[in-house]
């Protein structure tokens, strides 16, 4: 809504849950929201929507939420665009937050646009950095410079550019935020938040789609473009059976296995998993290049990854030119031990 900025206060985050389990993105958004709220001298409110979800409020508080608004209604049991849009738009109309953050998940990237269109404000997609600052960044004669604006930074144009976006005249300032990028705060058990129930009323109409079936199964092939962590193997892995080492590491870190073109051409892995110019372009938070030499076509598909760790026995492999951390060594010896160490660390 186009507004005098001062009417709108507070940082709100959408606490996404599925089957009454809170998605990790909710805690990440609270952590980032606290940083922004500190700069603005305000608080973080988590908005929880679902059915029978009261018990989830404490965990949001433990991760730093000052306040939790609960919209609890049977219509919100499974995610559907319309009732969730109604829930969030109603919360925004009633509480008037200055910032509203949503995870850039499969749900958030459907919900965010519909909510922003309903309340008439801007939405910046898939942000990787958020700051409070001035807009315009530098004073321009004849144009008012607004302070305490949300500056939303995101990659665009195939990762060729980085853009910083502001929403100076409309509130709330809305962003979807890429999962896995922002830091959660340490969990503090026992910390309580102010909890408030709010139900705007849900009346099904034509926009309520009917869920005929919910099929809970991991898709046969996970979309490697959506993965936060990729364990990618090349011809250096040696043979198809040896990909077990990569699968074990992927299971330990919550990652997904992908591969180079050489592996697809050899028939070891399906084309869906191929990274590169003739495969998929990926930008995970962490990209492990295991036994991948790094042909230019492969690099084009993965060099935008936030952190690249390469293991290769050939110290002249071009992959080392783009890797943040390159290890010249034997993957057969390193991987099993790394997987064990990660498991031990996570259990401790």
């Amino acid at each position: 809504m186009e507004v005098m900025n001062s009417e709108y206060k507070g940082v709100f985050v959408f606490a996404q849950q599925v089957d009454n389990v809170t998605n990790s993105i909710a805690f990440e958004l609270i952590g980032e929201g606290k940083k922004l709220a500190k700069d603005l001298g305000t608080e973080v409110t988590a908005v929880l929507a679902g059915s029978g979800i009261q018990d989830l409020a404490d965990e949001l508080a433990a991760y730093g939420a000052d306040k939790v608004i609960i919209v609890d209604d049977p219509e919100l049991k499974e995610y559907r665009t319309e009732p969730y849009t109604h829930a969030l738009a109603s919360v925004i109309e009633k509480y008037k937050p200055e910032i509203f953050l949503v995870g850039a998940t499969a749900i958030g990237r459907d919900l965010g646009p519909r909510v922003s269109a309903r309340i008439h404000t801007g939405l910046t997609a898939d942000c990787t950095q958020l700051d409070i600052g001035d807009f315009p960044l530098n004073p321009i004669p004849g144009k008012e410079q607004k302070h305490n604006q949300l500056l939303m930074t995101r990659p665009a144009f195939g990762g060729n550019t980085i853009a910083t976006i502001a929403c100076p005249d409309f509130r709330p300032q809305m962003a979807t935020v890429r999962p896995g990028v922002m830091q959660k705060l340490p969990k503090q058990e026992g910390v309580k938040a102010v909890v408030e129930a709010f139900n705007p009323g849900f009346t099904p109409n034509n926009n309520y789609v009917e869920i005929m079936d919910v099929v809970k199964a991991v898709a046969e092939t996970v979309d490697i473009m959506d993965a936060n962590i990729l364990i990618s193997g090349g011809r250096g892995v040696g043979n198809p059976e040896n990909f077990k080492l990569l699968e074990d590491l992927a299971a330990a870190v919550g990652g997904t296995v992908s591969c180079s073109r050489a592996v697809v051409d050899a028939g070891w892995k399906p084309k869906d998993l191929q990274v590169g110019q003739t495969g998929k372009t990926v930008r995970p938070n962490v990209y492990f290049a295991i036994g991948i030499s790094g042909a230019i076509q492969h690099l084009a598909g993965m060099e935008e990854s936030d952190l690249i760790i390469a293991i290769n026995k050939d110290e002249t492999a071009p992959i080392f030119d783009v890797a943040d951390h390159g290890i010249v060594g034997d993957l057969n010896k390193i991987l099993p031990s790394l997987t064990e160490k990660i498991k031990m660390f996570q259990e401790s």
Binding site: L123, F135, G158, N160, P168, I211, E304, F320, A323, S337
Partner: protein, 260 residues
């Protein structure tokens, strides 16, 4: 059945990116293609046409040269092409773009609107759902296996760990992914016909129920503060280590970055 497919002419991002002085994209200076997700959406529409019979209208908003993607769509099998172009529409963000397309689509009869999930230039995935909101119709994003049953569309909608089989009353908007299908090639006859076909060109005055304050750069709630070419990463660290040291080294990096 009448299907409207929204397509976008996008810069081929492999060719590098150029900007105007105000930070907006200089589209005129770049090579262009039909956005891949939109092409999958068009293919989905053409398959529905093959199976159930339908009139498929391709619509695009852009510079006059965006006519090229409409001709491509018609050469693939679309029945009509509509170009929405006007100086006042330039510099639009997703709010202003979705308002423009919704305003144009209000001229048309439709049962189904199909858009691509997202364009490879902006990567926002916002315009499809926002059009549906402006038109007050249901949206189903990330559609797979689209079927028609009476006055409803039945679609599989993929999430991280599950899919929903959804039934929505038409009119309805669905967004398609490039992985949905393998788009057909243009046929020689199709290319011949498409070259001669008439493209409908609409401007600001053809948009229904849209305010001037919702259009173009001025109607865009989001504004670019800064845009820059991505700074290429320098060469990182390269170390030669025995396996035990290598494991400790990687563990430290993963902990530093909060990966584990």
């Amino acid at each position: 059945m009448k299907i409207v497919v929204c397509i976008k002419q996008v810069p081929d991002t492999k060719g590098g990116v150029k900007f105007n002085p105000d930070g907006t994209l200089n589209r005129a200076a770049m090579l262009t293609i039909m956005n891949p997700d939109d092409k999958a959406g068009l293919e989905a529409a053409l398959r529905l046409k093959d199976e159930y019979g339908a009139e498929v209208t391709a619509i695009t908003m852009g510079l006059p040269k965006a006519e090229d993607v409409l001709r491509e769509a018609m050469a693939m099998g679309a029945d009509k092409g509509i170009l929405v172009t006007d100086r006042v529409l330039g510099g639009a963000d997703t709010w202003a773009t979705s308002q423009t397309l919704a305003g144009a689509i209000r001229n048309l009869e439709f049962d189904l609107i199909i858009t691509g999930r997202q364009a490879i230039d902006g990567d926002t995935a916002q315009v499809g759902p926002q059009i549906s909101e402006h038109l007050n119709i249901p949206v189903i994003s990330y559609a797979q296996n689209i079927k028609i049953e009476g006055d409803s569309v039945i679609v599989e909608r993929q999430y991280d760990d599950r899919y929903h089989v959804l039934k929505a009353k038409m009119p309805c908007l669905i967004t398609a992914l490039a992985e949905l299908n393998e788009p057909r090639y243009m046929t020689p006859g199709g290319i011949f016909d498409a070259c001669k076909a008439e493209i409908t060109v609409w401007g600001r005055d053809n948009l229904i129920d849209v305010k001037d304050s919702d259009l173009g750069l001025k109607g865009s709630p989001t504004q670019i503060a800064k845009a820059s070419d991505k700074v290429r990463k320098g060469v990182g660290e390269k170390v030669t280590l025995d396996p035990a040291e290598a494991v400790d080294y990687i563990m430290n990096k993963l902990k530093e970055k909060h990966v584990i």
